[in-house]
């Protein structure tokens, strides 16, 4: 299992590094080949909130609902032919079941490491819109603590997913300034570059690393410090979907502001031990252009 993760990460980092190295070489060689490689590079810093719900059938039939704080840092490259993303996302919050008369709360945190590449589909693109198809690798780790569940208070899973991705981006820029006449005052609107995009991710390889049938860790009574000894990796287990809307407004020639609504949901396989998590994320991202 570790070899699988290592290979995926090496592939991601290798691909990302290769893109960068090729770009450096080609920019020096030929201006015509610049179009093939990423033109605009950004570092993004995001913050937001996530409406989260989850259910872990291994310990409880109840759906827990809560809000998580969200931060992320990303590296993006946008070109005319290709788009690359490397993203670290972190969520932390607490959740309660929607049932009255009990006092139980689950504290959770989640880390997502993502890498995505999208390639332009020419026949689905035009002057004012662009379609891209590619992949997204999402390595999700989630942990929960709920003292009400006694010896099962700690829940942990790793959900690595390789997804097929599609994204369509519409250019909704205002090319010329205009004046809006309102009742008591006039507002002059300047030209602004902006776009709106919709992205869909469908899990193709949905893997899980999760505890076994009985869920409770056996390690304490067998004098073993390996808490994860009974955890099991399943290469193909469950399913995952995601979608998102991004509204990007370029502030000047370099930086941009992105307002996003994202949705991500996954379910592990099995019946009695199924774990389901869904997140509705609202966030704001500051994109800092790093082109020299």
């Amino acid at each position: 299992m570790l070899l699988f993760f290592a290979l995926i990460l090496l592939f991601d980092v290798g691909t990302y590094s290769q893109n960068y190295e090729i770009e450096k070489t080609q920019i020096r060689d030929s201006t015509s080949s610049i179009d093939k490689f990423p033109k605009k590079k950004y570092i993004g810093a995001s913050f937001g909130l996530s409406l989260t719900n989850f259910r872990d059938l291994a310990t409880s039939p109840l759906i827990y609902y809560g809000i998580a704080k969200h931060v992320s840092i990303s590296r993006m490259k946008f070109g005319t032919k290709k788009e690359c993303l490397f993203d670290f996302e972190y969520y932390a919050g607490s959740a309660v079941p929607a049932i009255t008369g009990i006092d139980t709360r689950s504290y959770f945190s989640r880390l997502d490491i993502m890498h995505s590449q999208l390639f332009k589909i020419n026949f689905l693109s035009g002057n004012k819109f662009k379609s891209g198809f590619g992949y997204k690798f999402d390595f999700t780790g989630m942990e929960r603590e709920n003292t009400s569940l006694l010896n099962n208070l700690f829940g942990f899973e790793l959900i690595p997913t390789l997804a097929a991705s599609y994204k369509i981006t519409f250019d909704i820029s205002r090319k010329e300034g205009k004046t809006i006449n309102l009742l008591f005052f006039n507002r002059k609107l300047r030209p602004v570059k902006r776009n709106i995009s919709l992205r869909i991710d469908v899990g193709v390889i949905n893997s899980t690393y999760r505890n076994n049938y009985i869920y409770t860790s056996h390690s304490g009574v067998i004098n073993d410090t390996n808490y994860f000894r009974d955890y099991k990796f399943s290469m193909f287990s469950g399913y995952r979907f995601g979608s998102g809307i991004d509204y990007t407004k370029y502030l000047n020639e370099r930086n941009a502001l992105v307002f996003s609504y994202l949705w991500d949901a996954f379910s592990t396989g099995g019946s009695e031990e199924k774990f389901i998590n869904a997140m509705h994320i609202v966030r704001c991202t500051l994109l800092f252009n790093t082109n020299r």
């Binding site: 009400s148 208070l153 009985i214 004098n223 809307i245 949705w263």
Partner: protein, 337 residues
């Protein structure tokens, strides 16, 4: 107009995909219905409890017995009584139903007489002079010949500092008495931290197996459990464990392990059991529960000590004489042999 259409399509797409969330959840199982909660708890026990065969429990028969007590509209209190009583049939103090107004339990300590009174030990053996090395209370007894250590709970605080102190202090005595009567258990790691001071070589203590499937006999292969000698100071002379029916869970595990260590002797009463590791879960109405999901096996790979680990020397308390602790007296006699 074009932009409005774009916004509408995008919003519709997001709402459409978000509605797919219902596919993930099929249905919400939250319910206060007594029948739903009863069936859920019975089913969870049926597929995960580990001692049906040993305790000769006919779980289907128990279902029929308690299902007939349910009725629509019954109060939470009544439902708790039914579910709690059903769990009591497992005769296991690792089995509890917990609501915000009550906790059900079996009470294995009531299977035998009361065999411990700390005040008697404090007044007549320690003379109210106790050293508190958390989590232990201890001092010399029998004119300084023996070290007495009261260990009331496995708090997870046993470490090399407190053990080094205690073992050094009593290293020149004839032996140690570790009193784990009415010790309801706790952190399992304390078991191995303590026992590692009483062995010189790697020693097989017992076996353990965990439920791996819904059948009553679906278990993993027995996992051998070893103790390894600690690198710090050890005590290799006689150690007496004082036990009673209130010695439960981690206390019982310690007693089970003592059967594999020739320098450890159990004196007192049979322990309360609790050799199954308890899990934790939640009902559709939010109440929580736990029950045993593993078995500890002796060196012959038998699970029988779940009914209590028997002492090597059986002694009962005499409540007609509140100046003596007969179990402690017998331990002192054993160490003076």
């Amino acid at each position: 107009m074009k932009k409005t259409l774009i916004y509408f399509i995008l919003l519709f797409s997001v709402l459409f995909f978000n509605s797919c969330e219902n596919l993930f959840y099929d249905e919400d199982h939250a319910s206060k219905d007594p029948f739903a909660n009863f069936n859920y708890l019975w089913q969870q026990c049926d597929t995960k409890y580990s001692y049906f065969d040993l305790k000769k429990i006919d779980w289907n028969k128990i279902k029929s017995k308690y299902y007939s007590k349910l009725y629509t509209g019954m109060s939470d209190d009544s439902l708790f009584n039914v579910l709690g009583s059903m769990l009591k049939e497992l005769k296991d103090d690792h089995t509890n139903l917990i609501s915000n107004f009550n906790i059900s339990y079996f009470g294995t300590d009531h299977l035998g007489q009361d065999n411990f009174d700390w005040r008697i030990v404090l007044d007549h053996y320690l003379h109210n002079d106790v050293i508190i090395t958390v989590p232990f209370e201890h001092n010399f007894i029998d004119n300084g010949n023996i070290g007495y250590i009261r260990f009331a709970s496995y708090t997870g605080e046993v470490d090399e500092v407190n053990l080094d102190y205690i073992i050094k202090r009593y290293s020149n005595t004839k032996g140690l008495i570790i009193d784990i009567r009415e010790n309801g258990g706790g952190a399992a790691n304390d078991i191995f931290t303590i026992l590692s001071r009483f062995v010189n070589t790697q020693t097989l203590l017992y076996y353990s197996r965990i439920k791996t499937g819904p059948g009553h006999n679906d278990f993993s292969e027995p996992q051998a459990v070893y103790i390894y000698p600690d690198k710090n100071i050890k005590f290799l002379k006689k150690v007496i464990l004082l036990t009673d029916r209130g010695t439960f869970s981690a206390g019982s595990f310690t007693c089970l392990a003592s059967k594999a260590l020739p320098n450890l002797i159990m004196i007192g009463d049979t322990t309360g059991g609790g050799l199954g590791l308890p899990n934790g879960g939640q009902l559709p109405n939010g109440w929580t529960y736990r029950f045993s999901i593993s078995q500890a096996l002796d060196l012959d790979k038998k699970p029988d000590f779940e009914n209590g680990v028997p002492p090597d020397i059986k002694v009962d308390f005499n409540w007609n004489d509140l100046t003596r602790d007969e179990i402690l007296d017998r331990a002192i006699e054993e160490l003076n042999k």
